[in-house]
């Protein structure tokens, strides 16, 4: 039973690619055969996050246009050997792939892999329509911020229009302190508007940036809070019941610092 999951958001910069890389890595570390398909043609980043840029030989466009079989374009991860990347082209644009070609490719990939994760481009234009065409499950990534939630809502509507019923939500980059002080939308506000099944709440974490620059997803780092959140999401995707993380309230020392104005 293989599953095609598309990771989408509408708005850019909310962490689609980061989420794809981390979930892919997490599922692979749990022993699943995983392939990550980057459909953000022209603005590819997924290879950077995985540290695989220098190993790319062929890309998605070469495969869909029939120049090479898909196996030649797959890039195996350096450390996790059951994780593969199917990168896209940096020189072409999104009109280079159409939905039928991607559906056909996913049908082939299904034979080999347990999970096929598709990293969707931002926006609701052709690139989005192509990316969602083959998906069984859609994961919508959003941020606790009004424009990201608004765009997520629009995307959920678009997914419904394309008859994608299985939609999950990940709320990324939550700042517990700001939520606490009422400066940021909290989970209740978001659930109220979007009303879809939430499978993850990822805190804002500096380690995400360092891990991105190093090409190692933060899910591999034990100390990263975001990494822990992603590990939980992977568990939930595999059908486990994992309780949501509780964010630590502002600690005693940081409050003390506030008192002394440090």
């Amino acid at each position: 039973m293989s599953e095609v999951i598309v990771i989408t958001s509408g708005k850019g910069g909310v962490g689609k690619t980061t989420t794809t890389a981390n979930l892919g890595m997490g599922l692979a570390m749990r022993g699943k055969n995983v392939v990550l398909v980057d459909t953000d043609t022209g603005l590819r980043n997924l290879d950077l996050l995985l540290g695989l840029e220098n190993r790319i030989m062929y890309d998605l466009i070469d495969v869909t246009q029939g120049r090479v079989p898909y196996k030649k374009a797959l890039v195996r991860h350096k450390k996790v050997e059951n994780l593969f990347l199917l990168p896209t082209s940096q020189v072409k644009d999104k009109s280079a792939v159409n939905p039928e070609e991607l559906v056909k490719l996913c049908e082939e990939l299904r034979k080999e892999f347990d999970y096929i994760l598709i990293d969707c481009p931002a926006g609701i234009e052709q690139g989005f329509q192509t990316a969602i065409a083959a998906a069984d499950v859609a994961i919508v990534v959003t941020m606790p911020e009004i424009s990201a939630v608004r765009d997520a809502d629009k995307i959920i509507g678009e997914l419904g229009r394309a008859d994608k019923e299985n939609i999950k939500l990940i709320v990324n980059r939550i700042r517990p302190q700001m939520v606490e002080s009422g400066d940021m939308l909290d989970m209740d506000d978001i659930n109220d508007i979007l009303s879809i099944d939430c499978i993850g709440q990822v805190p804002d974490d500096k380690m995400v940036i360092t891990s991105t620059n190093r090409g190692e997803p933060c899910i591999t780092m034990d100390k990263s809070t975001a990494g822990q959140a992603y590990r939980n999401i992977v568990g939930r995707l595999l059908g486990e019941k994992v309780p949501f993380m509780t964010f630590p309230k502002e600690g005693f020392f940081s409050r003390l610092k506030h008192v002394f104005g440090m």
Partner: protein
């Protein structure tokens, strides 16, 4: 076959009411009352019940309609069979209609064209039949949340069983009833009906328009609060007034 006289089938667009062959009205009413009492939790408010036109007389249909309305179920007489409902012998003569089936309400969301506009040319004679019936038939029911960018545009009234999110629009010739939170843009009486109104469980829209009047939410987000009670917006003395209601 069991000895039930009345049977209720679930279909995509609501529930379909079917009667056994040759049943009397008294027996039908008795059984419906029993069913309503037994399943008081099941028939949640806003459920749509369809019945075949011609399976009972007009007066009897009217009585049934009242009976269902008492329990908050919307009763609608349809001219053709709801897709998905299976055949069940009914002896009374029934108008087998060759006309186009009533479009499911959800399709109206996607299509720009209004539902009645499509139905009207197909059945001009029936529209004039009875104004009371028409109101029930012409209501557009949206059984899902309207999300940003989605639009319902119709000449009739609209019932939404779900939320209306920011960025969504409802433009209705009649009134708008939202069983959920309204955060989008709603325009009731869009073709000049000053008596149209908007009802929602939580009424916090970006804009309310009724007929040719516009009201908008306060600029200060602090003033926008989620009300605990359903509210109704209507025109009073030339301006839009919002008041809490019971329902």
């Amino acid at each position: 076959m069991s000895d039930e006289i009345v049977r209720i089938k679930g279909t995509k667009s609501g529930l379909q009411l079917l009667f056994a062959a040759g049943a009397t009205y008294a027996a039908i009413e008795k059984e419906i009352r029993a069913k309503l009492r037994a399943g008081s939790g099941f028939f949640c408010r806003g459920t749509v019940m369809h019945a075949m036109e011609g399976s009972l007389s007009k007066d009897e249909m009217e009585k049934l309609k009242r009976l269902f309305h008492e329990s908050g179920v919307i009763f609608s007489v349809t001219r053709s069979r709801i897709p998905g409902a299976t055949e069940w012998p009914v002896e009374r003569p029934r108008r087998k209609s060759a006309r186009a089936q009533k479009r499911p309400a959800e399709a109206a969301v996607q299509a720009e064209a209004a539902v009645p506009a499509e139905n009207a040319p197909a059945e001009p004679a029936a529209v004039q039949a009875s104004s009371a019936d028409d109101e029930a038939v012409q209501m557009v029911v949206v059984n899902k949340t309207l999300r940003g960018g989605q639009e319902v545009r119709t000449k009739s009234s609209v019932l939404v069983c779900g939320n209306v999110n920011p960025g969504a629009q409802i433009i209705a010739g009649g009134s708008i009833d939202i069983r959920g939170t309204c955060r989008g843009l709603v325009h009731a009486g869009a073709f000049g009906n000053q008596k149209a109104f908007v009802v929602a469980d939580h009424l916090i829209p970006t804009q309310i328009r009724i007929a040719d009047l516009i009201a908008r939410s306060p600029d200060d987000p602090q003033q926008i609060e989620k009300t605990a009670r359903p509210e109704r917006a209507s025109i009073k003395d030339g301006q839009i007034v919002i008041e809490p209601i019971e329902r």
